[in-house]
Each structure stands twice: as structure tokens, then as C-alpha cells.
Symmetry: C2
Subunit: 507 residues, 2 copies
């Protein structure tokens, strides 16, 4: 994840700077990754440079369309910026606020957490030494890290493994400090545990557990129930078996579809993702998501919440970045989970269609918002295929550490480098895409969720006529472009001829 991606660096003109004992100064505000720079309009020599790390606290105020940001610095300086336009003001405020986070390389040798990448984003207030301690208190060393920063209001999604409280109710001061450091004063957050309460309680017997609210007083814990492992794998096996059932009996088909529980899993995952997104966007609260390991249901929730909240994750490049960040770098064990699929008899307990369920959930949202995604269904199907069997190195191994040891970056080609060639991209581009900068709220009513025919019925019936309809649409849009080019060319020719006429007439 690029840290710079999190920082909006707009340039805003007509900003007024107020300092005690000084006259107001009007100028232009620029933000870089490290500095806030104000250049005076009257006197080009006067420039105020402020390190983000010098900022102790910031306040926002609005009077009509005029926004005011008050920045209180660690060196006791206080400055006030009047910014015309509420949106610009919010953008700047959140860009400054994100400086509460930092890139940490504490895991650069994969020693602190074997399933994490070398670089992670953590609260600025917590140093690497504390992170090492927190890692010993979290399942698999997965200390809480930043997953998503909601620019609109500065709220965040963090993810981690379960806390190792055990039956004795073990505590970790550094863990408590880290988690609280992500909340502003007086703010509350939500811990979304993807397990039901009883499962979380049972986990204590094996050394796991959950956060005691007494020790995390600003946080409220919510338990959801997303299934894991063999339950999901059995669900997939049952679903595929019923899709292949040729008895032509409607009752039997619907009973088997129900008994597979696949759509129930889809519903549970989407519901939890919506809850996560609601916490950020509607409640204005930050969240921490984890289940047991933090490598499966946790990633389903954090990545789907981003699909809902963040328009960029609905573009092709943005979605690729999301999968890179929230699945590959985040340590989803692809090799274990996708070793076998629905037809294998030797069932291993680590096989589970966790990633396929995520893709299915994305498809459900795509189906409900057909213009809001830059990619089409074929893109999701292609990713499913490559997760299970691929000539590229991208989905090999179980985490970044394994991929490094296998030298996959040197030895194999990346799926993205192939997919991003224009000839491939054209297959995956949604012709109806119109950038939608809003949060999109999918319906999770059972009536709204459907079987993903493109995956589960693709070998059972010809898709010839559906493909034709799709191609027809693509052709129409291509033809549009050709016609537009023709119009431009003809206009140019016409203009040239008219000019020639003018030249001929003048002498």
C-alpha cells in the first residue's frame, strides 16, 4: 500500500492565514507528504512550512461555505486557516489528519508477523518496540494495522488477529494503547468480531479470545457470524453438486440450493461489510475487524467495506490494488485455501472458498450497481480462475514472506502485467461504467441476492445468446467512438475547404 495514496495533496488558492499578533495573510496552500506549505500572495518571499509531525491537534469549524481549520502544534504555535469551500476544507483537514499514521518497517524480515508484508501502516503514536510487544498478544503476530482511511471524515478500518487473552484474561498495555491511539479524543470505535460471541468465548480455551470492554473503554464490540474453513468448502461442494444435478426437478433444485447455504454465507459476509461501512460513513466511527487469524473473514469484511465506501476500489486499477493490499499483502493463504475446489475427494481442513465468496459478493454489488464499476463480471471470473490455477506467480504461496523466499517476483510473471495490457483490459471493461463518487449501499435482503450464474452455471448451459447481447452493447459503444472520430475528421475537412474558399475569394 502506498502511503502517499492516502494523502490528498490539493492546492487551494485564497486561503487566509491567521496568527495571534500578526495581520491575516492571504495565499495559496499546498500539501505534500511531509509538509503543509502556505505561500503569501502579497509577498512571494513569505512561505510558511509546517511539518505534519509537528501537529499536535486540529479542529474544524464551518460558518456557511467558509471552513476554518485550527492547527495546534507541538511547539505551542497555533495557526488558523480560513478555507473557501466546505469540501476543500474537509479534504485538507483529512489530509492533515492522516499524518497521525506512519509507515513501519518493523516486519521487514517477516520476523514479527510471518503473514504480514515488510511495510505496514500503524498509528504514529506507537513505536516499533511497542508493535513487537503487541504482536506477541495477537494471533499469528497480526498486530492491528491500517486497512482503509475514509477521506471524507478521517475514520479508519483496522484489522488484526484475535487477542490472545486466554482463560486468564491476559492483557497487553501496548495493544490497548495502539488501539486507543487511533481514536480522537471523545470518539468511540467499534470492534467487529466476525465470530459469534460463544465461538469467541470458546476460543479462550485455546489461548485466543476477544477484547474486554473494560480495557478498551472507548470501543464497543459487535459479534457477527461469518463461517470459515470446511463449512465453506462443504457449502461449495454442495452448491456445485446441485448445479450439476440433472434431475430437472424445481423443488429439488431449490431445496439443494438452500441446503448448500452458499447464499446464506454471501448474505452474512455482505451484511457484516455493510455494517463496517456504516460505522465509518454514517456513525463517523473507526473500526477494528478481526475473527480468529484475521486472514479470512476479516479480509472479506475489510475489502468489501472498501468496495462500498471507496469509488477508486471500483475501478480496474483500484480493484487490482485492493486485491494486492487486502488479500495478497494482507496474508490470505491462497495456496492452502485454493489448493482444491469443489470436485476433490481428499478434503483438507485448510481448503475454503474464502476468496471466491468475496468475488461473489463483489458480483452481487456489481449486479445491483451496474454502472458503478469500471470492470465487468468477466474480470471477477478471471480472478477466480487464477486464484485456483494460474500460469502467473501472483497467487502462489500463502503470504509475502513465502513469495519472497520462492523469489516469485524474479521467477514468474505478474498477473497484473498481463491483465493490464490494452488488449486484455478491453475484455474486462464495463461499457456502462460512469464514475460514481458516492458510497453505494447494496441491498442484503435475501430476495436481492442471486446465484452467480457466470461462475456456477457456466458449464451447464450455453451462454451464446447472453454473450451476443454483451458483444452487441460493446460494438455499439465502439461504433460510437468511430462515428465521433468521423464527425471530427469531416468537420476538419470542411473547415479547411471553407478556408481555401476564403483564400480563393480574396484576390
Amino acid at each position: 500500500m502506498e502511503f502517499a495514496e492516502l494523502i490528498k495533496t490539493p492546492r487551494v488558492d485564497n486561503v487566509v492565514l491567521h496568527r495571534p499578533f500578526y495581520p491575516p495573510v492571504e495565499g495559496t496552500l499546498c500539501l505534500t507528504g511531509h509538509h503543509l506549505i502556505l505561500s503569501s500572495r502579497q509577498d512571494n518571499t513569505e512561505e510558511l512550512w509546517l511539518l505534519h509531525s509537528n501537529i499536535d491537534a486540529i479542529d474544524k469549524r464551518f460558518v456557511g461555505p467558509l471552513g476554518t481549520i485550527i492547527i495546534k502544534c507541538k511547539d505551542f504555535r497555533i495557526i488558523q486557516l480560513d478555507i473557501p469551500g466546505m469540501e476543500e476544507c474537509l479534504n485538507i483537514a483529512s489530509s492533515i489528519e492522516i499524518s497521525e499514521w506512519r509507515l513501519s518497517y518493523v516486519n521487514k524480515e517477516f520476523a514479527v508477523c510471518p503473514s504480514y508484508p515488510p511495510a505496514v501502516i500503524v498509528p504514529k503514536a506507537v513505536d516499533d518496540e511497542a508493535l513487537r510487544k503487541v504482536a506477541t498478544f495477537r494471533h499469528g503476530g497480526r498486530f492491528p494495522v491500517l486497512s482503509y482511511y475514509h477521506k471524507k471524515n478521517g475514520m479508519v478500518i483496522m484489522r488484526s488477529g484475535q487477542p490472545l487473552t486466554g482463560t486468564n484474561g491476559r492483557r497487553c498495555k501496548e495493544d490497548e494503547k495502539l488501539i486507543n491511539a487511533t481514536l480522537r479524543a471523545g470518539k468511540r470505535g467499534y470492534i467487529i468480531d466476525t465470530r459469534p460471541l460463544n465461538v469467541a468465548q470458546q476460543a479462550r480455551a485455546k489461548g485466543g479470545g476477544f477484547e474486554q470492554e473494560a480495557h478498551y473503554p472507548q470501543w464497543r464490540r459487535i459479534h457477527k457470524s461469518i463461517e470459515r474453513y470446511h463449512i465453506l468448502q462443504e457449502s461449495l461442494i454442495k452448491l456445485v453438486e446441485s448445479c450439476n444435478d440433472q434431475t430437472q426437478n424445481m423443488d429439488r433444485w431449490l431445496s439443494k440450493l438452500e441446503a448448500s447455504n452458499w447464499l446464506t454465507h454471501i448474505k452474512e459476509i455482505l451484511t457484516t461489510a455493510c455494517l463496517a461501512a456504516q460505522c465509518l460513513d454514517r456513525e463517523g466511527a473507526s473500526i477494528l475487524v478481526h475473527g480468529t487469524e484475521g486472514t479470512d473473514s476479516t479480509l472479506q469484511v475489510t475489502s468489501l467495506a472498501q468496495i462500498i465506501l471507496e469509488p477508486r476500489s471500483r475501478t480496474i486499477r483500484g480493484f487490482e490494488a485492493l486485491i494486492e493490499r487486502e488479500w495478497l499483502q494482507a496474508g490470505h493463504p491462497f495456496q492452502q485455501r485454493c489448493a482444491q475446489s469443489a470436485y476433490c475427494n481428499s478434503k483438507q481442513k485448510w481448503e475454503a472458498p474464502v476468496f471466491l465468496l468475496f468475488l461473489d459478493c463483489v458480483w452481487q454489488i456489481l449486479r445491483q450497481f451496474p454502472c458503478s464499476f469500471e470492470f465487468n463480471e468477466n474480470f471477477l471470473i478471471m480472478l477466480f480462475e487464477h486464484a485456483y490455477a494460474s500460469q502467473f506467480g501472483t497467487f502462489l504461496g500463502n503470504n509475502e514472506s513465502e513469495r519472497c523466499k520462492l523469489k516469485l517476483q524474479q521467477k514468474t510473471m505478474s498477473l497484473w502485467s498481463w491483465v493490464n495490457r490494452p488488449s486484455e483490459l478491453s475484455k474486462f471493461t464495463n461499457p456502462l461504467f460512469e464514475a460514481n463518487n458516492l458510497v453505494i449501499w447494496p441491498s442484503v435482503a435475501p430476495q436481492s441476492l442471486q446465484l452467480w450464474e457466470g461462475i456456477f452455471l457456466r458449464w451447464n448451459r450455453s451462454s451464446k445468446y447472453l454473450d451476443e447481447a454483451y458483444e452487441e452493447m460493446v460494438n455499439i459503444i465502439e461504433y460510437n467512438k468511430e462515428l465521433q472520430a468521423k464527425v471530427n475528421l469531416l468537420r476538419r475537412q470542411l473547415a479547411e475547404l471553407e478556408t481555401e474558399d476564403g483564400v480563393q475569394e480574396s484576390p
Copy 2:
């Protein structure tokens, strides 16, 4: 139904006429509703006029691309026509063959069959007197009439009410003659009874029954099971109730969907319609369809078979004609069936969503063949709405007789006259339509059939984003037309300017 619609009247050049003892004559063949006319090329004065009703038998033969039709006349004349092109030959042959049928006005006072229109198409070999006798042997006076003529091979769909055999095995020679008259020598036909065998057997106790194969030796009877009346109404009530269920439980939803049996009914109806279409198109056999009255499941089957077989019925005008012919004129009791819908407590035994099931089946086919229909889903939804509540006269009354008595044609406006205005039509036109002249075979596997969200979930969730996608597609196609017009205009201007240049240069 227009009789003329059944007759293809192509004009074919380069036809060679052979007659015994005469030299061959080359000329042009024209077909009218009554005559076959051959004009000689060498000598414009020579014209052969042949009344269709003079034709006793015809034979077809093919040698490579050359087709030969041998026409044997009732006056013992035999002529042979060599026709270049197999398709032209088949078209002409079937156009001649349809002359085995005639328009009968035996029911012009609605006295023979109160639920039939004044004009019906029946075999030429059967006179009105015989029709009157057959009417007394068929439920509700519904003697067998022509529903559809398959131009490709001259096979037909007929429909009727059940035969009134009763427990004594009553027979009707005229009925047997009528039904056999529709088959060419040596050909077999299928009687599709929409009831299971035991239901058909039980019907004898109430005076009804089914055709004994001994008395209809060229016909094979097939029993299917399409549900009727209150079973369908209860199915609709259960389905709508489960769609409105807000308990957000996936298992409950799927159980209730299954328990409603709605999709089972869809499957049964579509399966029977496919069977009917297969008999005609694949087996080259004619069929007779009936259940009990011949006003419900019978019409579902005959009209859906036409959707499958006949490209014209997939156009807007063709579908309107289909509904006019196979539902309104054919005497589906709309007033009784559509008096109430899913929310009414006072359940009457004659209420049933027979027409809605038909529309749903059309939607299922439309979904599988998105480019093959000139109309879109909104057209079907509009028809559903008007069948249940309408400011137009079209769907009032139970049959043509009632509509005549009520003087609806004088007192009300027709739905079609409103729908066919360009401003309305544009809402119902499928932007992806590309005329598909083939028979389309829908999949009836339970996995391929889906809940019609546009009808059953339309009030339960916003369709804003789906509507937007549809409008986007329509806009793109509109913009295409504008661009094309612009290209044409600019080309014209360019050509004019270039001509002017030429004129200026020449002197």
C-alpha cells in the same frame, strides 16, 4: 387473426412450368390468397391461373438447389414447377398448403361457442354443419381451430376444449374427421393434453374426457401437468407474501420460494410449450392442445410455442397480435381470472394468474435470448398491469361475445392504439434487438429459471441503479443515431463545397 397473414405471397422469377405434352414455359410465379398465377416470360399473354381450392395434393422434391413442386388438381390436371432456391420453394409449397384451411363464420352470432370469436380458421375439408356437431362434443363448444401454421414445414397447432366422452366413451365422427383432416396422408400428430392422465380420466365422471387413440389412429396422446385455478392463485399469494417477508433470513426465503411452487409452474408450462414446439419443428408433426376448458393452460402452451417458433411473435406488433389472437379472441376469461390479485382475502375459485404466468414465461425466454425480442421487460410489466387494472377496454370482459355486448369497441379506447404511439413505444423497445429468424429453444432446467424481479421485487427495493444502466444503454444508442445523422450532414456539406470549388475553378 388475419387469414391473409398465414399466406406468404412471394413473387418468384425464373420458375419453369412443366405440363405433360407441352414444352416447358419459363416465367414468374405469384401467389394471392385465392390463386396461384404463372406469367410466361416469352409470351406475356399466356397466364396460368390456378385456384388454391382446386389443389388436391402437392409434392415437393429437391435436387441440389433446385426445388420442384408437383401440384395435383381436383380436375385431374398435374403441373410441375421448378423453383430456383430451396427456401423459395419451401415458402411457396407451404403457402399453397395452407390453402387446406379456411375462414369460417359459423360462430358469427356467438351461438356455436360463446367464448370463440366470430371468425375462426378450420380445415377446408370440414363444413360449418360439421363444426356445429363437433362443438356439441367439445367442452364449452370449443371445437378444434387453427392456432398456428408453421410456414417452414406446413405443420400446425390446433386448440380446443376437452372431448365430452363421459363414462360411456361417447364418440363424434365429425370430430374424428376434423382432427384427421389436418394431417396429410401417412402423417402422425400429437394430442397434448395439459392434464395428467389420472385427472383426464377423472374428468369423464363429469362428462369430460380425452381422445381414445383407437378412434384417432393417426394421433398419439401425451399428458402433461400444468396446474389450474386456485392452485395457481395460492401459489401467487404465497410468492408475493414471501417476497414481502422482511425477516432477512436466507433459508426462510428460499424455503418459502420453493413452497410457493411458482417456479415449478413456470417450468411445467415452459416444458410443455417446448414439447409442442419440438413436435412441429423437430418431429415435423402437427399438434392439438387442450386441457379441460381450453381457455387457460391450453393458451399458455399454444402462445409460448409461437414465441419459440415464430420470429414475428417476438416483435412488438407480432406480440400484440399474439395476445389479441391467442388470449383475447381465444376467450381467456380475463375478467374472472384477473378480478383480484395476491392481496385479496375473498378467494374466488375462478381467479388465477394464468396470464401472468404466461408473461413470466416470456420474460424467462427474453432473459435467455436478450437480443431476439423487439420489446423489453417493461412491455411485459405494462401488459401485466393492464390485465389486472386498466383505463382501456382491451382486457375487459371474458371473451369477444361479452366485449361485443358491452360495445367496448365503441365505448372504450384500445390499449394498442395508445401503446403503439411512438412516444410510448420508445419505452418498450429493446435497444439490443436484432431480428433473429431462428427458432429459439429456451433452457427449462430449474437452474435456468429465475424469479422475475421486475414484477415481484419491484416495490421491495429501489431499481434506481438498474434503471440508470438501462437508460445509459438507450442514451448511447440514441447518441449513435445523432452522430450518424451528423456524419451524413457533414458529408453532404463537404460534397457541396467540393462541387462549388469545381465550378469556381472551371471558368
